[in-house]
């Protein structure tokens, strides 16, 4: 179980980091999604892995799963989902307004355009 989780988180993180290093926006969005999956799994195992145990401590319960990371992971999922959606919207707007779809910024020219 531990090994499975470790390999899964490691693979997701590695793929995510690689994609984030690319210059097109779409791979970066994918990379950030993969990274957020890895994070969610990582938060989930922060309370140590327990199989087949109740998440609530009560009378006569000696072995229980830590409920807090499960609550945290819900918050993390909601936030990362919202962020990804926002990033996609922003990428679409940048595509139409700037005519380019890259996550890097062009070198500053001597006479920059005037923004209002």
């Amino acid at each position: 179980m531990e090994i499975l989780f470790a390999v899964l988180i490691g693979a997701l993180t590695a793929a995510g980091v690689y994609l984030c290093c690319l210059r097109q926006v779409f791979p970066v969005v994918l990379g950030l999604s993969l990274l957020s999956y890895a994070t969610n799994l990582f938060v989930f195992v922060a309370g140590r892995l327990t199989v087949g145990a109740p998440p609530i401590w009560g009378e006569g319960v000696t072995r229980f799963a830590d409920p807090l990371p499960q609550a945290l992971v819900l918050t993390a999922i909601v936030i990362s989902f919202g962020m990804t959606a926002l990033l996609v919207v922003l990428a679409i707007r940048a595509r139409f307004e700037a005519g380019r779809e890259r996550s890097d910024v062009p070198a500053v020219t001597q006479r920059p355009e005037v923004e209002r």
């Binding site: 922060a46 309370g47 926002l86 707007r93 307004e97 920059p112 923004e115 209002r116």
Partner: protein, 498 residues
């Protein structure tokens, strides 16, 4: 009512933003009235909070009255109360600028502004680092919205980079939080302070890795070299009002770092960061020398001020930390003033915008030039404005003997000179190298923007007048960070500590 004071800085902007979204989507006037009323209420609450903790008490607000390590707690001590007041004052001054023109250039300006304030207040008040994460995200989501407000190709491209960098930062934040939770079994700063000494030897490595990772996240938010690359472009292209408010965002990173490392992990100082502070100073000052536009110049000046701030925060003595915190307030006001000024110049000059170039004469040149002169004095650290007092107090608290102290002196003084050169160059080009007399035909700078600029500059002036009590206040606040016994006791109710 008094018992519920600590939650109000979070509640007021949250409720007013919700009301704005529900009722004032189309009616801009109503939204403006609500925003100004909300800002006034926030300012009043911040003053009450400061008065309540001035004597050194620590107010703890337990949401739902859950006992501390299990529930969410907001904590107000001297430092967080001062930061809340700074946020409220900055927010109110910038709203004057916003209601004149900025809120018309796109949708939902006012709700986003309120959510931004809410996130900042929450980050200053929260007592645990998962809620710190949540409030950071609230702050960042609002800042993404504000950053692209008004649109434009360069702004969108830079906002995209800002967003990707911060999303990666958020991912690291969550990794770090889980590592610390895994090792220590708690998320509360005060509870963590109690548990760190009892962490098993086999888990110490995990705790350390989590702590270091969290430091990286906070340094990224604070834009300390080598993690500063995103700031000048993003802030320099953001709408003026938003950029001025963002001058505070990087300070939230510094604040969180202090709270987490000194109180939570119980480190004796952040001395390891001193070389990074020197580099940050140097990069910021060189950037000011080379900046192509006033907006980017203000961004690099903000990076340089973060460098000065961290020279202070790297100390282990309360006097030095206190001087750093005094400088934090000063640099927030000055940084905001520079961003507002860049924005006013940008809208006053038709052709050149805020590029650091000479050009046609423009209306309000004398007024804006005077404002730039004062803001530059404040940013460089010349008397009589508070930058001078901040740098003086900071240097006096650093002993010159020994390599690190002497190097800090050299870096602070040399970069001050570089800043002086860079700002003089930019100011003389933009305000003196003008041709023609086209200034009369155009309309002058917006009254609200000038009012905001005047308020911010008056703020740095007032800050130098109250320097002595302010320095004493922040020295006490720093003492409470270095010896967090009273804080831990107030939050957890456990007296035995260190």
């Amino acid at each position: 009512m008094r018992a519920h004071l600590p939650i109000l800085p979070v509640l007021i902007p949250a409720v007013s933003a919700a009301v704005m979204v529900a009722l004032a989507r189309r009616e801009l006037v109503l939204a403006r009235v609500l925003a100004l009323a909300s800002a006034a209420a926030q300012l009043a609450v911040a003053c009450l909070l400061l008065a309540a903790v001035q004597g050194g008490e620590v107010l703890v607000y337990r949401l739902g009255d859950w006992p501390v390590p299990y529930g969410i707690a907001l904590v107000v001590d001297r430092l967080s109360a001062a930061m809340v007041l700074l946020t409220a004052a900055l927010g109110a001054a910038l709203l004057l600028h916003a209601v004149c023109a900025w809120d018309r250039r796109g949708q939902h300006f006012h709700p986003l502004f309120q959510f931004q304030l809410m996130g900042i207040y929450g980050a200053f008040l929260t007592g645990d680092f998962f809620n710190l994460f949540v409030f950071f995200e609230v702050m960042l989501i609002a800042s993404y919205g504000l950053m692209v407000h008004g649109g434009g190709a360069a702004r969108l491209t830079n906002a995209m980079q800002y967003m990707v960098v911060n999303l990666i930062g958020s991912t690291l934040f969550l990794f770090a939080v889980s590592l610390v939770y895994n090792a220590a079994g708690t998320l509360n700063f005060a509870d963590l302070a109690l548990r760190v000494p009892t962490v098993a030897a086999s888990d110490r490595g995990i705790l350390m890795a989590g702590g270091m990772l969290l430091c990286v996240v906070f340094l990224l938010k604070a834009a300390v070299v080598p993690l500063q690359f995103w700031l000048p472009g993003a802030y320099g292209h953001a709408p003026g009002v938003a950029a001025a408010l963002f001058a505070l965002l990087s300070k939230v990173g510094a604040y969180a770092l202090l709270r987490f490392a000194l109180v939570g992990l119980g480190w004796s100082s952040l001395a390891a960061l001193e070389p990074l502070a020197w580099l940050t100073l140097l990069v910021g000052a060189l950037g000011v020398l080379a900046a192509p536009t006033l907006g980017v110049l203000a961004g690099f000046a903000a990076v340089a001020s973060i460098g000065v701030l961290f020279v202070g925060l790297a100390g282990a003595e309360a006097v030095r930390l206190g001087a750093g915190l005094y400088y934090l307030v000063h640099s927030t006001l000055t940084g905001a003033a520079l961003f507002v000024l860049a924005d006013l110049v940008r809208s006053a000059r038709r052709k050149e915008g805020d590029a650091v170039l000479g050009g046609q004469d423009f209306a309000g040149r004398a007024l804006l030039g005077g404002g730039f002169f004062l803001a530059a004095i404040a940013a460089v650290g010349l008397p009589p404005l508070s930058g001078f007092i901040g740098k003086l107090a900071l240097l006096r608290s650093i002993p010159v003997e020994g390599g690190a102290g002497a190097a800090s002196w050299v870096f602070v003084l040399v970069t001050s000179f570089l800043l002086l050169l860079g700002l003089s160059r930019a100011g003389s080009r933009v305000f003196w190298k003008t041709q023609g007399d086209g200034g009369q035909a155009m309309r002058g700078p917006e009254a609200g923007g000038v009012a905001a600029l005047a308020l911010l500059l008056a703020g740095t002036f007032a800050w130098s007048l109250v320097a002595e009590p302010a320095l004493a206040y922040f020295t006490q606040a720093a003492q409470a960070l270095l010896e967090p016994g009273a804080y831990v006791q107030a939050v957890t109710g456990m007296g035995v500590f260190r």
